[in-house]
Amino acid sequence: MASIVASETELVGKPSIKFGESEKMFGLGRRFRFIVLTLTIVFFLIPVLASVRYSLLGNHNSLTLSAYGAIFTDPEFISSVLVSVKIAVGTVAITILLVTPTVVWVRLKRPDLVTVLETISLLPMIVPAVVVTLGVLTAFASLPNIIMGSPVILALEYVVLALPYTFRSIDSGAGSIDIKTLVEASKSLGSTWLSTMVRVILPNLRSAITSAIFLSTAFVFGEFAVASLMSFTTFPVWLVQVGSARADESVALSVVALLLTWGALTLISIIGFQRQKRTGIRRSSTFSVSIITKE
């Protein structure tokens, strides 16, 4: 299922500016660093290279883009992507409408409840996706077909399953601005609640909400367990179906999927960095929000 949300330790700067910062931190030399980092880079690059090579050469050792051509013209590809897009739209909409007001409210009215809500948002990590699926199938079996028989149920569940990351993202965004002061300033200038929310709070949370959108979208486009076990042909489910029949096409697709995910996540980190620059706050959580494993 999911992986982690790192502790919110702030990256505290060194107390003093020193010349020639010691290159031998922890008493380990440069050679240690060189060996470790080289091995790491090799380990992480080889599968990428192998995938790209495989998708282009296939088993027949002749350079061709036919695998890429084949997948994009497959009608199943289009329909599975469409299903995933619809689910993503639903997941994103519910997530934003559910999490943003809650986070703003708790920071404003009950800051003492922030930890409680954070804990609740982490609960989905305790229940593996497979177990959630089992529970959904038994507990919600009697729900109308329009929910259980359609990807609607996936969107509803994905909101919960992605909550550890989306909540953390919006919450840390809200934590880095002083909502209370903003609201007081806005109200003292005569704004109504609604206009305060729309004109003052939301613009300040824009980058946090954008990350949350990317995170839930990436989650939807990666989630396999729940979708396949509930027999919905989402993009990742179709990927496996193709994989069992046509190997080089599925690898080509995986390359596309990996590149798309990495692109989206890199965008999140860039947004995160820009937010840091703007607010001057360096939080490790900017990185931790982007940790999902799509299991």
Binding site: E23, M25, S188, V255
Partner: protein, 290 residues
């Protein structure tokens, strides 16, 4: 004026839980009810009466073996990735220039998300029967598949899982390593400590609680993983998530209607215990860090 205004805001929201209700209710319905159903079903017979038979079934034969195999996989994956991730984090934190560190943190954020199906296929292209590395080694005279290796085994999964577990470890360990103040290490030196002593008396004790906490996190991650294993082994290796999946899809005929729920209850129990240990340790880890 301003002070009065502020007081009013605080006092009005004093006892209210209203704003938290929608989110909490949502989690209750879409997580609490399914999880609750699994736990209840685990103790219910087909006719609806209370029974321990499901649990007994989950603790015998193939199902017990799959728990053992799942835990074995999770433990191996965790131990390797925890140490590898720690080494990478140490190497990165030591850099005087912060740019490579940021780049590696960003990359880790990205790779930590590379689970699931695409990852499985990438590794098939790398270490599968006809993978690039397999063929490269084979042409060098060493066929790994002749020497007992298979990507579609626990060993193979352990390697594949490193791909998303190591980055998680790097991300989690960088903040505590970063919090190690250079002044502690220098103070220890001026007081007469050599580097091995400093590792044993200062760095080790400070880093160990977050390290252990992070390892527990990796364990739950590897223990609960389904997609990669399903895509890679198509159910060949008996792992608990795979078994539950087979039961859901009706691929396996058993006499026990709620056996899957019993297995699911077992998973919740194991992950839950580990999660509690994690929370305890994180609190301890935070105690020393400002």
């Amino acid at each position: 004026m301003k002070v009065i205004h502020k007081l009013r805001i605080v006092s009005r929201g004093k006892k209210s839980y209203l704003g938290a209700v929608p989110l909490v209710a949502y989690v209750g319905v879409f997580l609490g009810i399914p999880a609750g159903a699994v736990i209840v079903d685990a103790f219910r017979s087909a006719s609806g009466s209370f029974t321990f038979r499901n649990i007994q079934g989950a603790m015998t034969g193939t199902y017990l073996a799959s728990f053992v195999e799942s835990i074995r996989l999770a433990v191996f994956s965790t131990v390797i990735s925890a140490f590898a991730g720690l080494l990478v984090a140490i190497a990165v934190v030591g850099m005087a220039d912060t740019r490579p560190r940021r780049a590696i943190m960003a990359a880790s954020g990205v790779f930590a998300n590379t689970g699931g199906v695409p990852l499985a296929f990438s590794f098939i292209a790398t270490l599968g029967n006809f993978g690039m590395l397999t063929r490269l080694l084979s042409s060098a005279g060493f066929n790994i598949y002749d020497h007992g290796f298979s990507l579609y085994s626990t060993t193979g999964l352990t390697i594949v899982y490193q791909y998303f577990l190591i980055p998680v470890m790097v991300l989690v360990m960088i903040p505590p390593l970063e919090a190690i103040n250079e002044a502690w290490l220098e103070a220890a030196q001026t007081l007469g400590a050599t580097w091995p002593t400093i590792w044993r008396t200062v760095i080790g004790p400070v880093v160990f609680p977050p390290f252990l906490a992070a390892s527990l996190l990796l364990f739950t991650d590897a223990f609960a993983a389904y997609a990669t294993a399903a895509a890679l082994t198509s159910g060949v290796i008996p792992l608990v998530p795979i078994q539950i999946g087979s039961l859901i899809q009706g691929n396996v005929v058993t006499g026990e209607a709620n056996l899957g729920s019993a297995l699911g209850f077992g998973m919740i129990l194991i992950v839950g215990i580990v999660a509690v240990a994690y929370i305890r340790l994180s609190q301890k880890a935070q105690k020393w860090l400002r």
